[in-house]
């Protein structure tokens, strides 16, 4: 099976210039491979750099050295060194990401927030909204909320909108950063289902879950990180 | 007739007249282009035709016959004063007959009688710059002329239609000369605009206060701006002239009493008089 993600000797240190230039090493020489149909969960103590690694994979965090090869279309792209334009294209077509918090955009209804990744791929409005509605329904967002901007939603509702958005476009690679943090048991079960379906469809997933139950349910493999 | 002693011929000194003639030659060479010139102080206030008078003084010769009209009339103060001015300072013959005149100075009208080759029509111009209302900077309007960057001019006509349902500009209606320069025809009614097009006479424009001269040489195309779906139209009246009965000339509204009574009469007094004479002759 071909690797969808291959991380080679990745290092990251935060330098806080506003606090006297303190250096906070996060990880060094990290390596990771993820094949399609796999869900690799990152495990380790708090501060081990799980979220940072995930953000590096998405291009949201810039590593100091190393490479992140992501298979994109016919070839591969090194997210660590690719120009912004290429990273954006990889995100549009290949990389999905569910962040810990939804960044609500004023005035954009929940349905459109979820449909947006599909719209970016050129999917017609109706099709994109149908898929968005299906996901919102599965995640138990009442239909009366779909036309409202999520800024006023509760934390749990916002997170479910965020999850729906992440799964909407069925990207070949999906990164999950504590998606179940503020969810109740029923909704956690839906997320586990969604992950299982994605795996079955050949998606390569990388996730951080603080919840042992969820981690055990979805992991193909656990990648342990030391602080 | 000879000119009054103490004045140079036609009031201006010879060097000034040469300077103005050079400006006129340049204006004729570039139809519609505004040529700056060193406008002189004249013995009458700005706005009374100082530009037109300087142009007339520069082109008039002892053999010329001068006609002066103001709003089409030969007998209004302005027309009478200017005619008398040249009679005195140049000793030239004057006339009220359009066809007999070699030089016609005008304010706000073009005579109804068609002009012919060899005649010169001199317009008095208050504001020469057609783009001034939309662009106050002279540097910018010059650049717009240089680049024939005139699209924004239609904004004014658009506003007219939006507000009144038709192009409501009725005088000083902007024209494009020789397909190149945008020009203000001076405050003549748009009724007269078509007369400028391919006219056999030389048309000269003088703006004294603004120090600009421009020209439309004989047989030059002059097009009034318009929209495809709102083409240029001239005014029409449902009355005839109360004096001569004519229906094809520009009419002025005249209030006749304090009870709202009014009549319409030809603005071109010579044209009206000629027709009345003809009607009378036919009757006799």
């Amino acid at each position: 099976m071909t690797d969808q993600i291959r991380v080679d000797s990745l290092s990251k240190t935060y330098v806080l210039h506003t606090q006297g230039g303190i250096e906070i090493p996060v990880f060094a020489d990290a390596a990771l491979s993820v094949a399609s149909g796999e869900c690799v969960t990152l495990h380790g103590p708090s501060g081990a750099g799980k979220s940072t690694l995930l953000r590096c994979l998405y291009g949201n965090c810039k590593p100091d050295s190393g490479a992140i090869h992501v298979s994109h279309g016919e070839g591969t792209v090194d997210i660590a060194s690719a120009p912004p334009r290429v990273v954006m294209e990889v995100r549009r077509r290949t990389l999905g990401y569910v962040s810990q918090f939804l960044r609500a955009i004023p005035r954009v209804p929940a349905l459109d927030v979820v449909a947006e990744p599909l719209r970016a791929l050129g999917v017609p409005v109706e099709t994109a909204q149908a898929r968005a509605g299906e996901l919102l329904a599965r995640l138990r967002i009442p239909e009366r909320l779909w036309s409202l901007a999520p800024a006023t939603f509760s934390g749990g509702e916002q997170q479910r909108v965020n999850i729906a958005r992440g799964f909407a476009a069925r990207h070949p690679i999906l990164l999950l950063d504590e998606p179940t943090a503020s969810l109740d048991a029923r909704n956690r079960a839906v997320v586990i289902e969604l992950i299982a379906e994605a795996k079955a469809a050949g998606t390569a997933l990388v996730g951080v879950f603080h919840d042992d139950e969820v981690r055990e349910a979805v992991s193909t493999r656990v990648h342990t990180m030391q602080g | 007739m000879t000119s009054a002693p103490g004045y140079n011929f036609a009031y201006l000194d010879e060097q000034t007249k040469r300077m103005i003639r050079r400006a006129i030659l340049k204006a004729v060479a570039i139809p519609g282009y505004q040529v700056p010139f060193g406008s002189r102080e004249m013995p009458l206030p700005y706005g009374w035709g100082t530009g037109g008078i300087q142009v007339t003084a520069a082109v008039i010769g002892p053999e010329d016959r001068l006609k002066v009209i103001d709003q089409g009339a030969d007998d209004t103060t302005n027309a009478v004063s200017i005619r008398r001015f040249f009679a005195r300072t140049a000793g030239v013959a004057t006339t009220e007959r359009t066809a007999a005149a070699t030089v016609i100075q005008t304010r706000h009208r073009i005579p109804e009688t068609p002009l012919s080759e060899g005649q010169i029509l001199v317009y008095q111009v208050p504001i020469p710059e057609p783009l001034r209302w939309l662009e106050p900077r002279e540097t910018e309007t010059r650049k717009m002329h240089a680049l024939a960057d005139y699209g924004a001019m239609h904004v004014k006509l658009y506003e007219d239609i939006a507000r009144f349902g038709r192009i409501a500009t009725t005088y000083d209606y902007p024209v494009l000369v020789n397909g190149r320069y945008l020009m203000r025809p001076s405050p003549i009614p748009k009724f007269d605009n078509p007369k400028m097009n391919m006219n056999p006479a030389l048309q000269l424009f003088g703006a004294g206060r603004e120090k600009r001269i421009y020209a439309v040489p004989p047989y030059t195309p002059v097009k009034s701006l318009d929209f495809e779906d709102h083409p240029f139209e001239i005014q029409s009246w449902d009355q005839a002239c109360a004096l001569c009965g004519g229906t094809d000339s520009f009419l002025d509204e005249v209030v006749t009493d304090d009870r709202g009574g009014r009549i319409y009469v030809c603005s071109d007094t010579h044209h009206c008089a000629t027709r009345r004479d003809a009607v009378q002759e036919a009757a006799e």
């Binding site: 912004p84 990273v87 | 939309l134 650049k143 680049l147 699209g151 658009y158 506003e159 939006a162 779906d229």
Partner: protein, 256 residues
Amino acid sequence: MNPLLTVSGLTRMYGNRVGCRDVSFELWPGGVMGIVGESGSGKSTLLSCLSARLEPTAGRVLYDTREDGPVDIYAMGEPRRRMLMRTDWGIVHQNPRDGLRMGVSAGANVGERLMAVGARHYGEIRAQADDWLRKVEIDGERIDDLPLTFSGGMLQRLQIARNLVTHPRLVFMDEPTGGLDVSVQARLLDLLRRLVTDLGLAAIIVTHDLAVARLLAHRLMVMRRGEVVETGLTDQVLDDPHHPYTQLLVSSVLQP
């Protein structure tokens, strides 16, 4: 495909003082670039240089014209540059009064660019103006009203309609939401975001508001004292800033 804009070594000096120095980047069709930095950092000088309004002291700005491919915008003739500025480009000023004709109706403001490039059919010009007013959420009934009667947010939206009516490929915006109430800002931002996405516009947006930058820009350029100190994907620059100045800028934002 060529970059829409290729900027190399762009420098503008004001005597001995630096306006902006040695700026280079490429902007691709549909790309939205944010330029952030505090007042006096050279953002507006750079924007003026990029949009053919201020000749740089050194460096080049190549624009990929529809007809002849990349052309140096300061080497092309004035008529061509003017044509470009009113067809392929849009410029949205911070103060809408700088970009609008306050003395003519909203419809004429939107229609002007069409007339400037040769439209001579009143009915069609008006129909397009009406269409664009609606697109920027201005009631069609206001088409004959003077901008003087519009609120600040409406004026800014009118300015945007006036710029977009010729379907430009590149829009320059200088603090487009500056000076507006927060609620009005939100509406404008949403509108801009939608228009930029729907029309595939490329844009260069100068702002000192990082939230505006995050919402609108794909990429960021952080400027300080006339120089670019950091560039990258918008979320990467804001979430993982590297340069000390960017870190200061990001950490200085107040959270409501």
